[in-house]
């Protein structure tokens, strides 16, 4: 096992160094090979990532303080004008509200349902692979396609969901007319695609929970539900944090689902389901053709995502460690994420 620790020096860094003066050409070449290769191998990632990932992000700040139109290109420096313009647009604020609402409606049920499905899959099932593949099917359907299909299911008139509500005696819901209802419909599009995926992540974490813990709990007289909340949930806390953070980053950038939810794709007549990324799209390539203002939107959304991600991290860690303090620690789980 000691062999696997990363502290172990790589060949060539120890004793031979003292004899460096007597090295021949090919040996010197070999040493350069050892020294430079690691950097050479990581350089494609860092160079491409700098150009296509970091630079654009930083350059967004530059664009955001300029008058910059889609067709006319760079204009003059305007300071924080773009920011104040955006902040003065009611649609921006509405889009933030929509984003947060859709995000909460999608992420919270998503995690809860996914953990529940994972608990089901964690039972001793016949043909386990079949069930696991079954819950993953929605993952390979493109979000745009899911959105089109759910747009029909949630149609205001003669949609399947409203008809079913009619059968149980409820009034039809204006899925495209009412603000909150549209958020629920869109959140269900997001959930449809990601619940199964996250369930498998939770399932893997659950299977790594040592079975002795459950035995001990059974001896102590804990029932299934108690076992679930006192052992399973605290034991998979690292995974819960992981899923919550990834779903935050994704959930605050929802675009495909809202873009396709109706034929116009701009968040409905009252911008009821316009998310902030859709708003950014509209500002840049839709109605305003202002790359400067769109950059201001991007920066503010960026800060929001980082902020919420951080808060999320703190909250999840608080919740999940409070129950786990007394339990024996599992190295293989805590190691990677702690």
């Amino acid at each position: 096992m000691a062999v696997l620790t990363p502290q172990r020096p790589a060949p060539g860094s120890g004793a031979p160094e003292r004899e460096s003066r007597r090295l021949g050409f090919s040996q010197r070449l070999g040493r350069w090979d050892v020294k430079l290769s690691p950097y050479l191998y990581i350089s494609p990632f860092f160079i491409l990532f700098a150009v296509t990932g970091l630079f654009p992000l930083a350059y967004t700040a530059y664009v955001s303080v300029h008058d910059w139109s889609l067709l006319g290109g760079q204009g003059e420096f305007v300071g924080l004008q773009n920011f104040s313009d955006v902040l003065a647009q009611p649609t921006f604020w509405k889009s933030l509200g929509n984003t947060l609402s859709i995000f909460v409606l999608s992420s919270v049920p998503q995690v809860i349902i996914a953990i529940t499905i994972a608990a089901l899959l964690d039972q001793n099932l016949r043909s386990a692979t079949f069930w696991r593949m079954g819950v993953l099917i929605p993952y390979v359907v493109a979000p745009v396609a899911v959105s089109m299909i759910f747009g029909r299911l949630f149609a205001d008139q003669y949609g399947l969901i409203n008809s079913m509500l009619g059968i149980i005696g409820m009034d039809p819901i204006a899925w495209h007319g009412d603000r909150l209802a549209s958020h629920v419909a869109i959140a269900s599009i997001v959930n449809y695609r990601w619940v199964g995926y996250n369930a498998l992540i939770f399932l893997a974490a659950m299977q790594a929970v040592p079975r002795e813990l459950y035995e001990a709990a059974v001896i102590d007289g804990a029932g299934r539900v108690r076992q679930f909340f006192s052992i399973t949930v605290p034991q998979i806390r690292a995974t819960i944090i992981f899923v919550v953070i990834t779903s935050t980053i994704g959930g605050l950038q929802i675009f495909d689902e809202v873009r396709m939810f109706d034929a116009t794709g701009l968040g409905g007549p009252d911008r009821n389901w316009m998310t902030t990324v859709l708003y950014l799209y509209d500002v840049a390539w839709g109605n305003q053709h202002s790359l400067g203002r769109a950059s201001a939107v991007a920066w503010m959304l960026f800060l929001l995502i980082v902020l919420i991600g951080f808060v999320n991290f703190l909250i999840t860690r608080q919740i999940s460690t409070s129950g786990a303090a007394k339990k024996p620690k599992r190295k293989s789980i805590t190691r990677g994420n702690a």
Binding site: R8, Y39, I42, I137, P143, M148, F242, L301
Partner: protein, 305 residues
Amino acid sequence: MSSVAVTAQTAGEGAARAAARRRDRKAAGSATRRAGWIVYAALGVVLLISVFPLYYTLLLGSSDPVEISRNPVPQWLPDMSLFTQFQTVIESTQINFWKALANSLIISVVVSAAVVLFSTLAGYSFAKLRFRGRGPLLVFVIATMAVPTQLGVIPMYILMSDLDWIGKLQAVIVPALVTAFGVFWMTQYLSESLPYELIEAARVDGASMIRTFWSIALPAARPAAAMLGLFTFVQQWTNFFWPSIVLNSSNPTLPLVVKSLQSNYFVDYSLVMGGVFLVTLPLLVIFAFVGKQLVAGIMQGAVKG
């Protein structure tokens, strides 16, 4: 005397067997009990919800458009008229179906191959080689996984129009060539599954660094590389936001076809739904073959990630 011995023996055997059975059950814990029908029923409902929207797409694709706008379930079974819709979509000049299919294929294959190669290279370096700055650089990679780089779209768009790449496939391919997640994934895998002895043996035998990578690390990385390739493929195949900005309906990808279906034929739900299914079909077929690997990949990534 002999009969007693026999009894004792059988009793002993029986008791031992019972004890073993008890031990087995205990060792495996409560979860080893076969799942009850309630679990299967609940999972059946989950499966139904997973599959139903796709089935419903087929259903609407086979139905009469006028009928759809009056009745949410015009018929219960898909029929042959579905193929008429497929044909219309494929032959439509506004849709460019074959071009979209080819584009999606090119983008997904090229990007997956590049992500796998670059991630394995960097992952091998981070996991198994010693160099100055290794720690901080790895932390940097992990930190960037949480950065929403999607939000750099505006400068990226400006860059693409300066390069005159708007409407061309490289505008989608080049920004996707590397991912921080890929590097992290391969680093994790290689640091656990590639023994130092193998690398040292190759080095002692006089293999150069790149030779060692090529003939030792790359083969060892195959399982994780396959997973990474699969996920990148699915992700690129279903990607919409960025392609919808830099590509257009004359040179689309399959998700963009869904958009043109919606804007060109939005009243003809039957045609739109037929098209939506057609667009979804390739990945469903692929899923039938690699679904198992996707499941394994997600579960493997979960334990490590």
